[in-house]
């Protein structure tokens, strides 16, 4: 029988197999995960021009030794109790009513020998050179957690939603600009109520 006009078709059946092979290669070798972690700001290296005098009662000193034991305000503290202690310190609001430092939203004990107001309260974290990194991160996590708990409390009271959720939405690049502008103000307001003052002193090398 005579052939009809036209070249014979190339069999493209194996094209799919080749493409699948490539697809699987890219699926296996690539990663889409985004990293997450604790954000911190380091102090600038040049010391401030003026020496600021901070009252001892406004500093919450946390020391971690090389065995991972904690000394908070000169007491040996279990890691699990650190968050509660930090919250008690930050939320204390010791300044008397009527003074400029008076904290109207604090719900702490208002103990005169602890911090005056959240804006004044400073947590100072010190560690040994032989402290394990894991322990250090746990302590950092608890201290950030203390701030977040307090901020969430105030945020629930003022705006009816959690501060951490608002902040995550604000930082998400997919959020619309109008929503962001609205959130920016709220986030800023809560941050001003409980500013994160976490000082990381240089490591001591005690033996």
């Amino acid at each position: 029988m005579a052939r009809r006009a036209g070249a014979p078709e190339v069999n493209a059946g194996s094209m799919a197999d080749i493409a699948f092979l490539l697809l699987i290669f890219f699926l296996v070798t690539t990663t889409i995960e985004t990293d997450a972690g604790l954000d911190r700001m380091l102090p600038p290296i040049e010391p401030p021009d003026t020496d600021v005098i901070i009252k001892q009662k406004n500093i919450f000193q946390v020391n971690i030794n090389k065995n991972g034991q904690l000394l908070a305000d000169e007491e040996l503290v279990d890691l699990k109790d650190l968050r509660a202690k930090a919250i008690a310190f930050l939320d204390n609001g010791g300044a008397a009513s009527g003074t400029p430092d008076y904290c109207s939203y604090c719900k702490g004990k208002r103990d005169g020998s602890s911090s005056d107001s959240p804006a004044k309260a400073i947590i100072s974290l010190k560690n040994d050179r032989e402290t394990k990194y894991g322990t250090y991160i746990t302590v950092q996590n608890e201290l950030v957690g203390a701030y977040n708990d307090l901020r969430n409390r105030e945020s629930e009271r003022l705006f009816g939603r959690k501060f951490t959720d608002m902040e995550a939405e604000y930082l998400n690049p997919e959020t619309a600009q109008a929503v962001k502008d609205d959130l920016k103000e709220k986030v800023k307001r809560i941050q001003d109520l409980f500013p994160q003052k976490l000082s990381e002193a240089e490591t001591s090398s005690s033996n």
Binding site: A16, D35, A36, E130, T131
Partner: protein, 160 residues
Amino acid sequence: MSKFSKKKSGELPPVSTASLPDIVFMLLFFFMTVTVMKDSSLKVENVLPNANEIKKLEKKDRVIYIYVGKPTPEFAKLYGTESKIQLNDKFANPSDVGDYILAERAKKSQELQNVLTTSLKVDKSANMGLISDIKQELRKVNALKVNYTTYDGDAFNNLQ
């Protein structure tokens, strides 16, 4: 009469699979464009600690990575078992960190240079002494924004 009987055929025509490669290529291009290749292979053990009060590290183009941990078994003979710093593909000393940050910063575009974050990917068994040295170096080059990169999980698992 014969005009009609010609068309009659008993079997079903086969389903055409000619468009299958197109579909697969579409998927392939999707994955090629959305994913990022792993750029450096790890030479150190890198089991990150857990934390739960974490923030996501958005925008990968603004991040500089520093890895710290014990050298993996194949490098342990050469470099020992003490924790080391890995920058890009090389082991480095704490004093190299500053130069590395400056070099990486110079590679980024002008508008990103002020908003860079340094991501510290540190093995949980590393000692804080080395981390303090790195932090000191970072302060010297004014790279103050750091992120202690962790896994999402209960922070008390780190203590075991």
